[in-house]
Symmetry: C4
Subunit: 207 residues, 4 copies
């Protein structure tokens, strides 16, 4: 019994702190974005109109960060061992996500024009790539019979997202509307939580 | 025994991370609101006078966020299983609560005029509705013998709040004072913690 | 055994989340204070000189928030049961502490003049009073043989602090220097961690 | 058995909260730095050019804070007992790290000129020294057979970093480029996670 508690503690400690730190960073990123919506000077509903594009870009980024938190949550749940490579791959992902408030503000304040829309795609692309890297670092740390490896399978969603972002970046310079459409469609694709992992875990109660 | 610890870990993990993330977001929301109180330039007590409405709206929003944290805490305590639907319903609630600092600042800086007071009600209404959705998602995840379902009973407080907010929004355009009065009264109604859940849990020591 | 794990989980859950939320709020308060130190425009060391009073007030507030976190940590450690009264008493304490960045910025930017120095004392006084209220709520929740009640004893430090703050507020209008001197002395008094609780807990390893 | 769970809870509680608070503060510091990158007014890629030095200084500070979080994580993992001295030594480290966003912003906005580059080194130096102090406080709390003491060995990396920072500060006034080169080299030196501790812990699964 004493062994069992010890194992629980040692196996869980590193992972718990990784999750706690990631939760903290994601919670702050998702919340400081709202600071970009500056309180308007007038007190009429018309005074809010210029904030509409900022609000819409906030909604889109909130959904994206929610998707990352959700999938990160599922992915880490399958991990039993985390080491230095996983810690740094995780920080790398958080770095790109920390740039989301900046590109969200730039896109919203410029009413979704070309360059800001393209840069938004660059940050989404880098975040998606760093998510891949993290996924592989976790699988490498778990060894042969990784639950995560079985769960992600062909990972078509992840691959399709990267291709979509890579297309949205040049397309935004031609017509920003194509860029936004792609970002919204990819977000909708991911709004369905990662059932792949839930399916493999089978009758376990965990999300 | 080993089974017991495993069950604890798997059942609790997802919920713990959901709670930790929610705590993080709520802690940030409740704290960044204070940034709306800009340090005044003068160094006399008179220099603070223009900040009084901002301070009062801060107090009201602090109490509302405290109520949400408190009730969220009680509600999640009854949950044993959380899945994708609960995670997204929770993010939906956090989205509306994340708009509280914005509407608090707008209402405070405009000295509680009509449109800002009404918009404050819109955000409270949407937060209350999303709390309902979260409650039902948790009950659905627990199955037939949900503790939460038994605990909330008719949920008259939740239903009354939604009706009150829906009345306060148009009333604020007629007279903002009616809007504020309703928000304060609903807050007082909820300041009593959710005894319904404590009663059902009976002699358990949990809050 | 199964009972034992269940008890651990139920007794600890509420308290853990109370601690996590408090840690989050205190971590944010202590960190956003540094945002009051605006990056100066010049790039010489002389450009930093106007920031010195802001920096000094930041150091003082950092120490005070550190003291509160530290004592809060010790106090909650002794608690085994938390209920609605404790949750709200804790939020009340966090409310007053959330005003620390505002009064710190006001005092620092006005180079420690009378009214800002007095208001700083008002916030410290209210925080100290709300800490008392929280302490009594926790003791009331534990029942007769409360470890905390035995640990705090006469609580001379807490009582002396309240008297000192109450004296510093009017004294600041006469001479702000007396106000600062009192705040620094009280901080030094508390820098020694709450050995009273460590002593009563005896040979336990906890801090 | 009941004893075992009790011990787990008492030994772990203080440490867990210390880690949670540190994670919170580090997560906020690492995230609010991005607020220094103000959204530019133009919507062209050229409008981003003035932000490049701010971005580069953000990357450097993100890496440094990642290193501190990573090493802090390893170091605390080895600790079994934490007391008042460890709590305050930890707050002292967090104080110096909380100044990183300020010096990062000052260095970035002034395009890496002499005084800001030197002050950046002062904050890194003080953080390194306070990390030493924390390390010794933890070793002192563990007693003779400290895992951490065996793990750090001669601690050549820590000592070399302090010497490097101490050299970078005066060198920055002569040529800021030498300062930046030293900060980048020391960061690269630490990017390798603290294998010393992992090696001593041997076949344990912890990071």
């Amino acid at each position: 019994m004493s062994v069992s508690v010890t194992t629980f503690r040692e196996a869980g400690m590193g992972k718990n702190r990784l999750e706690a730190f990631s939760d903290g960073v994601l919670a702050i990123i998702i919340t400081i974005m709202v600071l970009e919506m500056k309180v308007p000077h007038g007190d009429t509903l018309q005074a809010l109109r210029p904030l509409l594009p900022v609000f819409l870009s906030y909604v889109l980024s909130f959904v994206y960060l929610g998707i990352y938190w959700n999938n990160h949550h599922h992915m880490l749940h399958t991990a039993e061992k985390v080491g230095g490579a996983v810690l740094w791959a995780n920080l790398h992902l958080l770095f790109w996500l920390s740039l989301v408030p900046f590109v969200t503000g730039w896109m919203g304040e410029n009413h979704f024009t070309a360059a800001p829309t393209a840069l938004y795609g660059v940050v989404l692309l880098m975040a998606a790539v760093s998510y891949f890297v993290l996924q592989h670092a976790i699988i490498a740390a778990q060894g042969q019979d990784s639950v995560l490896k079985a769960a992600i399978g062909s990972d078509w969603k992840g691959k399709l997202s990267v291709v979509a972002y890579a297309m949205a970046i040049p397309a935004s310079f031609w017509s920003p509307a194509i860029g936004w459409a792609i970002y919204v469609l990819v977000a909708l694709l991911w709004l369905v939580p990662d059932r792949r992992i839930e399916r493999v875990l089978g009758n376990q109660v965990v999300p």
